[in-house]
């Protein structure tokens, strides 16, 4: 099921809500119990994301934000430990920065 989105906004609270929705879609097949997803939530340790789940996440991000947000390139710039320990907040901040760059440009 696809999600209906409002127009793009470079607002951390809005982006967090959108990202949390995408995470729930990615994890749907694992039937997780009630998930608390906040800025401090970590993809690996807290959400039990495997690396292939981050690829699924990239698909959702691409569908929502298009080429403005290049998640694959963002992760490719990191060390392996940083990818494993990535938090939802880091991703939200990256997305907000990308959206602001487009607004400003």
């Amino acid at each position: 099921m696809s999600i209906e989105y409002a127009p793009l906004a470079a607002d951390a609270d809005v982006v967090l809500g959108e990202v949390a929705g995408m995470i729930r879609e990615v994890l749907e097949e694992y039937e997780p119990e009630d998930l608390e997803i906040g800025m401090a939530t970590r993809f690996g340790e807290d959400l039990e994301f495997e690396s292939i789940d981050l690829v699924a996440m990239a698909d959702h991000l691409n569908a929502r934000y298009g080429e403005v947000v290049n998640f694959a390139e963002y992760l490719a710039s990191m060390e392996l430990d940083e990818i494993i320990e990535l938090s939802v907040g880091q991703l939200v901040e990256y997305i907000v920065a990308c959206l602001r760059a487009v607004e400003g440009g």
Binding site: G44, E45, E48, E50, S51, I52, L54, V55, A56, A58, D59, N70, A72, E73, L75, A76, L80, D81, I83, I84, E85
Partner: protein, 284 residues
Amino acid sequence: MAKFLANGVRHHVQRLPARQDSPGPAPVVVFVHGVFIDTLASFYFTLAPAFAAAGCEVITYDLRGHGKSERPPSGYRIDDFVTDLDALLDEMGVTAPVHLVGNSFGGTVAFGHAVRRPDRVASLTVIESGPATRAWTEIMAGALYKVTVEPDQAMAWFTTEFGRTVANLTPPQQAHLERLARAATRLMETTSIVLDIPTSTTVDDEALRAVRTPVLLLVGGGGLVSDETDRLQALLPRSRTVVMPGYKHAVLVEAPHQVGEATLAWIREQHAAATPAPEEVETG
């Protein structure tokens, strides 16, 4: 998430279009990941974005049983994976010869494809890998035997064995490895993969001498295949070896920039050699 039905199995595919124009057709690069704990993520988050940015059409996919591809109960011999790859290229409408880049087991699949369909493979890059020789099947049989006699120890065995392939294993990586080992255990418990891999059809020396495809052998200094590499280079008529000192079998994830630079330079060289210069096209 793009899925393609190839050889009766639904495969998860990720394509990254070339983000830079090149004179003439862009090289098509297909990344093939390793077995058990691996998925296309190993390439998607390392080499793939840089290759797309450098003007390559990038294709990467999850092997059957892995990642987000379907996990059929049987059909895990090298030949099955080669048929999957061949059918996948058909399904995606890829007609130009491709540059195959395979990591570990993925390199063995890529080798199999170059042997079966030399017309379809412009170049081969194998990272810590080699063809499915008789020696290879014996090593795989030996490694997987422990899993067949003690299936309840499979996960512990995986984390230990794969932990040894990494030169510098950090605590976050150890935790991640345990998550990946769970996926590997699911694959071994629900399919015939452990029995199938060691009974794959083998490639003999004569077949290797006949491989006309240019091959780059990329090996970690302390990896699993360094002993075999000299022999392999002597057999293959058009091959080159690059050694990455200080790294082991997991060189792709530990040194993605070095692996990427060596691989991209090799593919550019092979692509240029196989593509007529623009002037020749105009005057011809």
